[in-house]
Amino acid sequence: MTIPTPVVPVSNGFVVELEQFSGPLDLLLHLIHEDELDITNLPIAKIADQFLAVINELGLNQAADYLEMAARLLRIKAQMLLPRRLGDDEWEDPRAELVRRLLEYQQIRELVEWLGQAAARRAEQLGRGFRPEPPAAPPAPLVIELNDLLAAAERVIALIPEPVLHRVVPRPLDVEGATARLQALLAERAEVGWLDVVGARPTIVDVLSVFIALLELAKRGSLSVHQAGAFTPIQIRRESPREAV
């Protein structure tokens, strides 16, 4: 059997597509079958030379996958030529990996045969062609299982080196509480400091709550806010009740 010429040889010699072989293993298997060689005891020198000849002939020498296989074959060929000591139990047949892959690939080819026949047989039957479209086709219903989503969340979390995810919890500002607290403090003392109100280690929510409460009470005229200069402590003073003005 002669090797057919490639299907789409382009002028610059680069092979765009090669239909008769689906890859270097396919070509290799083709050569092995053609010469009726024993896969498990592959005459590597012979097959390597043939492989190189074919990829040259086909202009495949620029196709990376074929070239890589060619290099592999040459390396195995060289390894086979290396002298080996008698009784060397450590010696591993350099062909072993290639043979394993070839056998595996041969099995795939057999499955391809089977699948191709099944598909061809199925293609002898036609399904329903015409279907009058229902008026305004509703969109396909979407399915999301909560468990799937949670599993996805967990996968995502696993991707993150440190737990930077926050949980989303509504944390409404407690302006009312802050207002009550301010009023209570000012009932005791005429003047309080900012830190007295928010505490030593305030959260951002505490700070915001107090700040809003402060502005609101200042607007109402219940207190006044003083600051001696930029970045100096803020003082909060009780204002005399309006009734007394």
């Binding site: 015409f130 219903p141 799937d148 989503l149 919890v169």
Partner: protein, 182 residues
């Protein structure tokens, strides 16, 4: 059933459009017009007599099989024309990030997933599961995404608080589902 009626049945079933008498004749050019009409009548009457769920109907453009009216509603209700769609793992991951980090920008989603998630976010937005909720601070004021009411609806949640908290995740996640049928 006559061979011609059987051939027509197959053709009318498989055709992507209603077929005219002239078109049907191209299937069997040797058949005379009378034979074609006889075969069509045989087919129609056969389906009518044997009390089927479908009927052969002659309409302006030709002949076609239609489901009987009384079944149309049940079939439409079952929505067979449309396979329920599931989200891809990539989409679910992106959705999970947006659900738990909202409002969140594309950059951040990309960063967490380690891949460009723009196209996935667009698809989720197209399906109405996420939407732009605000704009962030900083360079270019990036669009920030959050989940939509539809997201809750599909998951059957009342509100976002019903999503398990992240600390509870491994508890909420049941052990791997029992061997799923392949």
């Amino acid at each position: 059933m006559s061979p011609l009626a059987k051939l027509f049945e197959a053709a009318l079933f498989a055709s992507s459009r209603p077929l005219t008498v002239e078109e049907l004749r191209t299937l069997e050019p040797t058949a005379g017009e009378a034979a074609v009409h006889a075969a069509l009548a045989e087919l129609r009457d056969g389906f009518a007599a044997a009390d089927h769920g479908v009927e052969l109907v002659e309409i302006a453009q030709g002949w076609q099989f239609l489901t009987r009216r009384e079944y149309a509603e049940a079939i439409e209700r079952a929505q067979f024309a449309l396979r329920p769609r599931r989200l891809s793992p990539a989409a679910l991951e992106t959705l999970a990030i947006i659900a738990y980090r909202q409002p969140v920008g594309r950059m951040e989603v990309d960063e967490i997933r380690g891949v460009d998630s723009g196209a996935v976010i667009d698809k989720l937005a197209e399906r109405g599961l996420v939407e732009v909720v605000t704009r962030g601070e900083g360079l270019g004021r990036p669009l920030l995404y959050g989940t939509t009411p539809q997201f809750l609806e599909i998951l059957g949640l009342k509100d976002l608080d019903e999503l398990p908290r992240l600390e509870e995740l491994s508890v909420a996640l049941r052990p791997p589902a029992p061997a799923e049928p392949e």
